[in-house]
């Protein structure tokens, strides 16, 4: 059960990436040629909502499913 939740989240992620066409080579080409908003919309929405959520998690000191504080590791600068 503990492992299953990661597989299920992965399945959901795979479906999202495929159905949004974010895995499409064509869509990536379209992005790098600035010919559609699609990919920018996906990444932009994810980052805006992600930033908002991370801010709220820190603000309200939310805990994870095991009751531990959700911590954010800083990315290495080197």
């Amino acid at each position: 059960m503990k492992s299953l939740k990661f597989v299920l989240t992965g399945i959901l992620f795979g479906v999202i990436m495929t159905k949004s066409e974010a895995v499409s080579w064509y869509r990536i080409q379209e992005m790098f040629r600035f010919q559609s908003f699609h990919m920018y919309g996906i990444i932009g929405t994810a980052i805006v909502l992600g930033t908002l959520g991370v801010f709220l998690i820190k603000q309200f000191k939310l805990k994870d499913s095991q009751g531990n504080a959700i911590e954010f590791k800083d990315k290495d600068k080197t």
């Binding site: 992965g10 399945i11 795979g14 159905k19 080579w25 996906i42 990444i43």
Partner: protein
Amino acid sequence: MIELLKQPWPWYTSGAAIAGIMFLMLFFGKSFGFSSNLRAICTIAGAGKSVKFFDFDWKAQQWNLLFLVGAVLGGILSATLLKSEAPVKLAASTIRDLQTIGIHFDGQLNPSQLFGMNFLTVKTLVLLLSGGMLVGFGSRYAGGCTSGHAISGLSNLQFPSLIAVIGFFVGGLIMTHLIFPLIFSL
């Protein structure tokens, strides 16, 4: 319901869902970042014997490998049960541009000309393998890929992530506009 899922999802649904995946992982006490799996896989393959970077307890990353297995299954599910019959709505200008470098738009997610078994030539094999190696090297060198840096990193306002994402993007522009015309005219 299935019909609703079958059609291509709009960008706002997908973007929100990706943020949702990141929060799910945080709620499970983990973090969202895909390319750490590449390190774990190298370690499983025995790279830890000769390179210190790979000498770590990969079992601590088991959850992430399960997430990766799930993602592959999700991809298969989308390509079969949830497959949309309509061709990808690619911009007409992109279709034209790709035509000039000899890539024909076939309406699928990825050109069979590059990824299809029927077109497996030495050239496509070399292209795919070298592309994979560049992705593997780059994501480890940068300490993350699009998921770890662009989504998790930027959401946490990490400056190194911003630099990495700008780097990814510039790299993509160079590849698309300068190197692709050379590769595909060979």
